[in-house]
């Protein structure tokens, strides 16, 4: 059975804009991978079409069938993690092995408070 994993240092899952994320990735594959890379990305989810932004990728050279590597990736200044009724913007670290699009994802939060920003409807005036 194939297994891909992402661990951040101290198990952190909430980061400030501009902060450095450090951690390790590991994988155990049944079939060899030509490439294994870690992606830092944001994506939207909700009522409308999805937008995705891949902010940075960390390739791991000469991936073995079973391997463990360290990574460092810097969080950009934005966008922040937020959620409302119509749309959420989510951040994730994603480890992808190709071919086969074998992947694992770790959701993270990016904001100045390290909390997801909640968008609430403005109460009616008067």
């Amino acid at each position: 059975m194939e297994n891909l994993g992402i661990e951040t240092q101290y198990g952190a899952n909430a980061f400030l804009p501009g902060e450095m994320v450090e951690g390790t990735v590991s994988w155990q594959l049944d079939l060899p991978a030509e490439t294994v890379e870690l992606r830092l990305l944001w994506y939207t989810q909700g009522k409308g079409d999805q937008d995705i932004g891949v902010v940075s990728t960390v390739p791991f050279a000469n991936p073995g069938l079973a391997d463990r590597r360290a990574f460092r990736v810097r969080i950009p200044e934005g966008p922040y993690s937020f959620s409302g009724k119509l749309i959420s913007l989510l951040w994730a670290l994603e480890l992808v092995a190709e071919p086969g699009s074998r992947a694992s994802r770790l959701e993270i939060t990016v904001s100045p408070t390290r909390q997801e920003i909640l968008i609430t409807p403005r109460p009616p005036v008067g």
């Binding site: 240092q9 101290y10 198990g11 952190a12 899952n13 909430a14 980061f15 902060e19 989810q45 909700g46 009522k47 409308g48 079409d49 999805q50 993690s81 959620s83 409302g84 009724k85 119509l86 749309i87 959420s88 989510l90 959701e107 939060t109 390290r114 909390q115 997801e116 909640l118």
Partner: protein, 198 residues
């Protein structure tokens, strides 16, 4: 309920694949071969034509065909440059062309597509009405189909009249379900943030 938790978020709905009714995938592919791989998936808006076309493309690719797909949107009366490259350049018998929204094309543009894609191994289109190519499959929707989709998304069955209120348009019915869920109180928050130690 927040968008990320809404079971009817577009990304979750798109994971639901087309459910054929009255025939199997093998029978559909046999029918397509009998039509020399030139055929149409027919149905009104929101009846699953695009999803079926995508699934058909995946099955044809698995059979060894090289699939080239073009999607037309409201008002696209002719293929754009990328579409023309995909459909008119270097065609071989191993190519199957998928054209989503063929009814958008002007008559002359459609005639050009038909004439210039003869070298391809196949041309499968979606359109709202029959007539452009022989009909391979007519996409229909039923309250049972909608209920099955809603069940697969982990929700209670929808109101019985929901599909009828949307004229059979499953996409719009699911949008209404999204709004209904969005008005519910938030169920949960993201996992407690675990910041890096200072």
């Amino acid at each position: 309920m927040l968008a990320r938790d809404n079971p009817f978020a577009v990304q979750r709905v798109l994971e639901i694949r087309y459910r054929l009714s009255g025939l199997t995938w093998e029978e559909l592919l046999e029918r397509l071969a009998a039509l020399r791989f030139r055929a149409a998936l027919v149905g009104p808006h929101g009846h699953g034509k695009t999803t079926l076309l995508e699934d058909l493309g995946n099955r044809l690719a698995a059979q060894g065909f090289r699939v080239r797909a073009v999607t037309l949107h409201e008002g696209d009366r002719r293929l754009d440059a990328a579409g023309r490259r995909a459909f008119f350049h270097g065609l071989a018998a191993s190519d199957v062309l998928l054209l989503d929204g063929a009814e958008q094309l002007a008559r002359l543009a459609w005639m050009e597509v038909r004439a210039r894609t003869r070298a391809a191994g196949g041309l499968v289109i979606t359109c709202h009405r029959p007539g452009l190519l022989p009909t391979l499959y007519e996409c229909r929707t039923t309250p049972e189909l909608l209920a099955g989709i809603v069940r697969d998304l982990g929700e209670e069955p929808p109101p019985k009249d929901l599909l009828a209120r949307h004229g059979g348009n499953v996409r719009n019915a699911l949008r209404e379900m999204y709004d209904t869920c969005a008005d519910r109180p938030a169920l949960r928050s993201l996992a407690s943030p675990q910041p890096l130690p200072e």
